[in-house]
């Protein structure tokens, strides 16, 4: 940019090499360096994010209640205890199962809605709004609604009893066998709208001529979806997989507000366990070690998904 501006027509060329050097030096002095501009952002990100991560790493080596002035250093003992903690492994199992179920169903439903709403459907805007509205509703607002809906004397059981399916009525969030599926259903209800929007946008980028060519070649709707649209939106699927995986690792609000991570730890996730350890039980060092493990798992998963997505693209 600087060189271009120096050679703009109408400007007098430097009369000598020394004069040009002086001019360049003067320009360097006058041009702002990048550092001052990025300092506020650097301080914010470095201070508030990376410093906190480092501090959490330090706390994870302590036996500390978060308040007392004399924490005890325990080295890697917190990590050793975590690996022997059955509740931690339960939380990991729930997270993995939660990710698989919610990702598969959200992807299926979101993709299906996107395909349907790309067809010439009447009042499509209304459907779009209906599908997307749950995304903008705060879990804290919806949690009491779901607690009531799935309560033993709640609306779901009422409906079941009034359509002749009373035998299926049960305390959905009050028993270990159904509490986790209920949390999954709520999550799918809430986030399918986002999956739908991303697929809807991605499908808008699919080359029309390819679709037309496929139709001329005799491909039906299912074949077109499976062989053209689905591969074309792979990038979106990979992005959603990363978001879902990280979301599953961070899951906290719905299980905490609806089931308090119970009953009998049936809906315990890493997020709820960290909260319980920090706030309710004062084991801040242990909770920090859990957080470090959570961070590492999240990073490994995100990198893994990215690499898998890239390899696939290269092969294709």
């Amino acid at each position: 940019m600087t060189e271009t501006s120096l050679r703009r027509p109408g400007r007098r060329p430097p009369s000598s090499r020394g004069e040009a050097a002086t001019l360049r030096a003067r320009r360097r002095r006058l041009q702002p360096r990048g550092l001052p501009w990025i300092i506020p952002a650097l301080v914010l990100s470095g201070g508030l994010i990376y410093y906190c991560i480092g501090y959490t790493g330090y706390i994870s080596t302590l036996d500390w209640d978060g308040i007392s002035p004399d924490p005890t250093s325990v080295g890697a003992n917190n990590f050793v205890r975590i690996l022997q903690d059955p509740v931690f492994w339960q939380a990991v199992q729930h997270t993995v199962l939660f990710f698989i179920v919610t990702f598969v169903l959200q992807t299926f439903l979101g993709f299906l809605f996107a395909v349907l709403l790309h067809s010439r459907i009447k009042v499509a805007v209304v459907y779009k709004v209906i599908v997307f509205v749950p995304v903008v509703l705060a879990p804290a607002i919806m949690a009491p609604v779901f607690r009531q809906l799935f309560a033993p004397d709640g609306e779901l059981n009422w409906v079941l009893q009034h359509v002749g399916l009373g035998a299926l009525a049960q305390p959905w969030i009050g028993q270990t066998s159904t509490a986790l599926p209920v949390i999954m259903v709520i999550t799918i209800w809430q986030w399918t709208g986002l999956t739908f929007v991303l697929y809807f946008a991605a499908m808008g980028q699919v080359d029309e001529s390819v679709l037309e060519a496929a139709r001329i070649d005799g491909a039906g709707n299912i074949r077109t979806i499976a062989n053209i649209i689905w591969p074309d939106v792979r990038g979106t699927t990979v992005a959603l997989a990363i978001l879902s995986a990280i979301g599953a690792l961070k899951t906290f609000d719905i299980p905490w507000l609806v089931t308090i991570a119970g009953p009998n730890e049936a809906t315990e996730f890493l997020g709820t366990y960290i909260y319980k350890m920090t706030i309710q039980l004062d084991h801040v060092g242990y909770a920090a070690a859990l957080s470090v493990i959570l961070l590492i798992v999240a990073l490994v998963m995100a990198i893994g998904f990215q690499l898998a997505g890239r390899e696939r693209e290269v092969r294709d």
Binding site: L30, G47, A151, G174, Q175, P263, I279
Partner: protein, 458 residues
């Protein structure tokens, strides 16, 4: 974009200033020092945060009476649900932006928050004299004292170990309150046959599960629960195993409502009992307030049934579920004390409020008349001539008997239990309730957890 030398210098200065400000903000946030000035003792605005009184109308009565005597001190009460209490208070106090006065409960809360509470011994001495300890219920002082420091002044005490029943529902179906496990099961069968809920408990919350377990344990072997809490008996003692076995029976025999392990005592069980969906609930003396018309009407409104008909509720002894002939004794702690934050900017006014609430006869009389707490100041009793019960004929004597009985209680409720042990008790209760563990296995796990939590046993 180009800048002059002057603006470039200014930019650098700005950047350095931004960095310095952020650092300063960070350091300020991390600062733990206490504030300097105590402010005026007779004027100012103070904030009081607590999980109890559980309805703001009761708190307002206390505050109105206080402000009548100290018109220049304004008290703002903020009610926080007990399940959110630690999460809300901890960062508030740590940041220095917390309340001036906050509720304190014996046991785990004292351990957690004693560092943020002023030693109120001088306040007690100035109000009641050198022999102040003899003028306050001892159960309040011991539970709120840690490392020789009086972390809070006790407002009143609460006791548990009884059930509350809806008299109208028992009368409607011609039932008598249960005194044994078999009668309890039978009552529930009758209620259920009429589509009426029987007993409701929020078994997802440890504090209330502990109440039921302690009552069962007292039926099995009086005093065993307290012994285990003190480390004089193990948590896998045969008596505790039997306690867990009977607890499990409450679920398998249909006494506990369906889905109890997923329900919370507040708001779920509380609302369902108050709205008449269930006929019995396990609550303590704090529920005495709902024998009054005013408090019950307000509570029904909070439970989402504004305009609902009030009903007389009665306390009954916890049934002899072990069949060993032991009437379950009550147990109790200071319900709550009022602590003054070390970081308060209005410590003097806060101390005035705490002193008035806990040591003045007027303040304690207001507390007594709400029937939420048994007042901690000796000699103060509820003035029943001013208290409008829902049905004085049926309620008056049982309520008076209950209050009189509390004077003889010696067993603590939660004061001896750490948060880790309480968490382990909840795990044992839930694992047996959901048949994920046998009573023996759950008791063994509880014992291991208690040892791991640092509890020592003889």
């Amino acid at each position: 974009m180009r800048l002059s030398i002057r603006s470039r210098t200014a930019l650098r200065s700005l950047a350095v200033l931004a960095a310095a400000s952020l650092t300063a903000v960070g350091l300020a946030a991390c600062s733990t020092g206490s504030s300097g000035s105590a402010g005026s003792a007779t004027s100012g605005t103070i904030t009081w945060e607590g999980w109890t009184p559980t309805d703001t109308a009761t708190a307002k009565l206390y505050i109105d009476a206080f402000e009548k005597q100290y018109p220049k001190i304004k008290v703002d009460y903020k009610l926080v649900n007990i399940s959110d209490w630690v999460a809300a208070l901890r960062p508030a106090l740590a940041s220095g932006k917390g309340p001036d006065v906050f509720d304190m409960q014996p046991g785990a809360y004292v351990t957690q928050f004693k560092g943020f509470a002023e030693d109120l011994t001088p306040v007690a001495k100035s109000a009641l004299g050198a022999d102040w300890k003899s003028k306050i219920a001892p159960i309040g002082i011991s539970g709120l004292t840690a490392s020789g420091k009086l972390t809070a002044m006790p407002v009143g005490s609460v006791y548990a170990g009884m059930l509350w029943i809806n008299k109208d529902l028992f009368d409607k179906y011609g039932l008598t309150p249960p005194t044994t496990l078999a009668e309890w099961v039978k009552d529930c069968q009758v209620f259920k046959s009429h589509g009426q809920g029987c007993f409701v408990q929020g078994a997802a919350q440890e504090g209330f599960d502990q109440d039921t377990l302690q009552s069962i344990a007292n039926s099995v072997q009086p005093g065993l629960w307290t012994k285990a809490s003190k480390g004089e008996a193990k948590w896998n003692d045969p008596g505790i195993v039997k306690t867990l076995s009977i607890w499990q029976q409450l679920f398998s025999d249909g006494i506990m409502q369906s889905g109890a392990v997923g329900a919370q005592q507040y708001p779920d069980a509380n609302n369902q009992f108050l709205t008449g969906k269930y006929a019995m609930v396990m609550m303590g003396t704090w529920y005495t307030q709902y024998t009054t018309k005013n408090a019950l009407t307000a509570a029904l409104g909070s439970a989402g049934t504004s305009g609902a008909k009030t009903f007389p509720m009665l306390p009954i002894a916890f049934p002899d579920v072990a069949g060993a002939g032991n009437t379950s004794e009550m147990y109790g702690d200071a319900d709550f004390g009022l602590a003054v934050s070390t970081k308060s900017q209005h410590r003097a006014a806060a101390e005035t409020f705490v002193k008035w609430m806990t040591t003045s006869k007027i303040g304690q009389q207001v507390v007594a008349d709400q029937l939420n707490d048994i007042p901690s100041l000796n000699g103060v009793t509820p003035d029943f001539t001013k208290i409008a019960l829902v049905d004085p004929t049926s309620q008056s004597q049982p309520v008076k008997d209950l209050i009189a009985k509390t004077a003889t209680v010696t067993e603590p409720r939660e004061a001896l239990l750490s948060t880790d042990v309480q968490n382990a008790i909840l795990a044992a209760a839930q694992s047996t309730a959901t048949n994920k563990a046998t009573p023996q296995a759950a008791a063994n796990t509880l014992q291991q957890a208690a040892v791991a939590a640092g509890q020592t046993f003889k």
